[in-house]
Symmetry: C3
Subunit: 320 residues, 3 copies
């Protein structure tokens, strides 16, 4: 079952997948997000979500996403019910179904943000609720739509558009959930070119590659930094995830295959590009480039996560 398209009307919609968004939906969201930035920075408290309760139902720990959603609700004067300790799901231990748990929390909540280790859980939750929108905060190898939205917004904020861009995607392109979402988002806009830099074992799967490149995007696979374009608008670096490898030796061989250093930026970067990373990073971006103005991963990219969630919650709860 495909989640419902947004089609310009966010109110009451579940947010499960980037596929629900048209370019127009993104444009609505991206027009509101800078307002959220101003609200978060203002001394005066916001009352946009006053009187609403958003339940954060985290079946697995994720301190960053949890903190970002918790702060987003509170920045807007809303309240949260926070269930973030998996052991707290005592009723689950007693054999309660996932569906019943969701229905119970629906009774307390104006919206439910759900994080779950199993792909499809957010969708499943949305099929159970009757009045309460579900917002996915990532489910296993499935989608993590708010991460994708903040990535797209970060590029949009810098360049004022999402078409006609050149990007470099690096790292684990085979398993990287954020990479797949980002490509899917950019597919919505014409004339984008993406350079895919990865070790051979971690290349985008052939199925994905073909399905993506059939559409109006240009994908170029490269295996060495020296093939990177000089005119990139953004680099999007990712972590090689240890947990994806059967053998540790195999992991060790590729984990630091591509590392962003001052040297790499000097040789292959350009003055205006931005350097992004979905975090956590382990060693694939050297800390020596943290203070570089082009590095946005520990600055605007993080903060944009909170702003985009503020905007999304306001829209879905029909408060803006």
């Amino acid at each position: 079952m495909h989640p419902q398209k947004i089609n310009g009307d966010f109110k009451g919609k579940n947010i499960l997948s980037l596929d629900q968004f048209t370019p127009k939906d993104l444009s609505i969201l991206f027009k509101i997000t800078p307002k959220m930035k101003r609200i978060a920075k203002a001394a005066k408290p916001s009352k946009i979500l006053e009187g609403t309760i958003t339940t954060l139902l985290f079946y697995e720990p994720s301190s960053r996403t949890f903190g970002s959603f918790s702060a987003a609700v509170k920045q807007l004067g809303g309240q949260t019910v926070e269930i973030q300790n998996p052991q707290a799901f005592s009723s689950m231990a007693k054999g309660e179904t996932f569906e019943d748990t969701i229905r119970v929390f629906e009774a307390y909540s104006d919206a439910i943000v759900i994080r779950h280790p199993t792909q499809g859980s957010a969708q499943k939750a949305s099929e159970v609720t009757r009045f309460t929108p579900i917002i996915s905060a990532g489910d296993g190898v499935g989608e993590h739509p708010t991460q994708a939205l903040l990535d797209l917004f970060t590029i949009y904020e810098k360049w004022g558009r999402l078409d006609g861009l050149v990007g470099v995607l690096a790292g684990d392109l085979l398993n990287g959930r954020t990479i797949h979402s980002l490509i899917r988002g950019l597919l919505l806009f014409p004339k984008n070119t993406l350079y895919l830099l990865s070790p051979r074992q971690l290349r985008l799967s052939r199925v994905d590659f073909l399905s993506f490149s059939k559409r109006k995007i240009k994908l170029i696979e490269i295996e060495s930094e020296k093939d990177m374009p000089k005119n990139a608008h953004f680099w999007y670096w990712t972590r090689v995830q240890k947990e994806r490898f059967a053998s540790l030796g195999e992991y060790e061989k590729v984990k630091n295959r591509f590392v962003v250093t001052k040297e790499l930026l000097r040789k292959h970067g350009n003055k205006n590009m931005i350097l992004m990373h979905p975090l956590p990073r382990v060693g694939e971006i050297s800390t020596e480039v943290d203070s570089d103005e082009r590095s946005v991963y520990l600055r605007s990219q993080i903060r944009n996560g909170m702003y985009i969630r503020m905007a999304l919650l306001s829209l879905v709860l029909g408060k803006i």
Copy 2:
């Protein structure tokens, strides 16, 4: 030591047992509860508990009760201090007594909601505090007064009274804490008749049966669905708790002895009755009856838990 009677004045009282309530107390509480429902559904935020702090001290996980109390406080503009991870009780690990812990949290709180695995803990906490009311959220096999209150309110909301009712109580009547509380609540009112449906091993204990039936309630033990009355006002179904059985074989034999199905409702139910369950359910109510209008366990019964807690907190904190 018996907890203090409420006698029409909730302010500052500990809420530890249904025995504290007279019919008049229930009537006060049940008059306020629908107002809480309107507040929860209103777009305008409530300020009834503004400026108050309620500490949720959960020594064992209970996601449903925790969420319900957390939401109740926040629906009314109050704030919570939430200690729900038993490992967080570091001072306990260092040998601090329960009494000292309670006194510490008393200093931060206008009210303390306590959940504890050991019977009598809520009472013990209430003997230690000097100004801060304790509200029990269940302690072991002891009482869970807010569950009992929400069950009674759910029946009252449907029928407008708590006397002259016919009910069916099914499942584990021997160990079911909610069953005992419900019977105790209905004992306060005249002319009620309860049919007790359970496997022989899980019948109400003789001691309880005799003590209950000596008072103005009629208890009728039955062992088969075909002996159920046609004119019941409510069915109250419960889970057979695996943890009560020494042998798994014994459990397997009785766990699904009585299951509510469409068929059962058609054959033995009536048009106006309601079907209740304290949750979690495991298999004793088939999901096929979830959408039946008479099924209130995943709808008003859950929501009433939040409303009754809102009403109780408002009264105990003297804000209404």
Copy 3:
């Protein structure tokens, strides 16, 4: 690197050590703290921290300190983002550095309160943030500045001054973090005399003793209660920490060497003194003296912890 002196201006400062405070800084803080007491007791909600978010980043459990900070923020109308379950630091498990985690939470927060098992962590956090003040809630055997401040305030509140006082410090003077901080605080003021009562194995280290007594404080080591002064302004009792001993036998020998009883208070105390303890206590103060008016450890000392944290947060966030 030494943390920045406060020098009369709290706004935006990290709070890492008592060494940042001059007597004038303490006087500013102690003038505001009683106002916080009035706010906490008032029925009218405060809006001092309205619109601000304080993240409580607890890398180890500490229910008392966590609850105190959480309540302090909420008493002032502020909001918290609460990360108190170490398992929730999923990104850490994936190999994220402490520095990156701090930067992430900086993006969501107006202030960060950090508790950490490793000495120096709060300082390390403060070197990473750019705009967000760090407030230490204790890091390992390092400092726990808000505990020291509440202890000093409790003495100040009773006596109206922090000079010319006679005190008894008892228990584990070798390892007791709160003892060291209290002595350091009293060193800022002239003419104080401290009697140090401890088993020989747990005496203040020679290095500390000499460094302290070189300054304008008089330290007198005693080994028996009968050498205690009759004119003490306060007794500060502490727990002998089991975890400090290699052998359990060694611990058992000294753990209850000095216990405050009614008898001890009658024989060696005086009418006006106060009896303090940083909690948790295990057996070193008999519960029979809890109701004695001089016992402040479960009363004003606890509450002062919340008030001093309210004052500190208001000052650091520039809201007062």
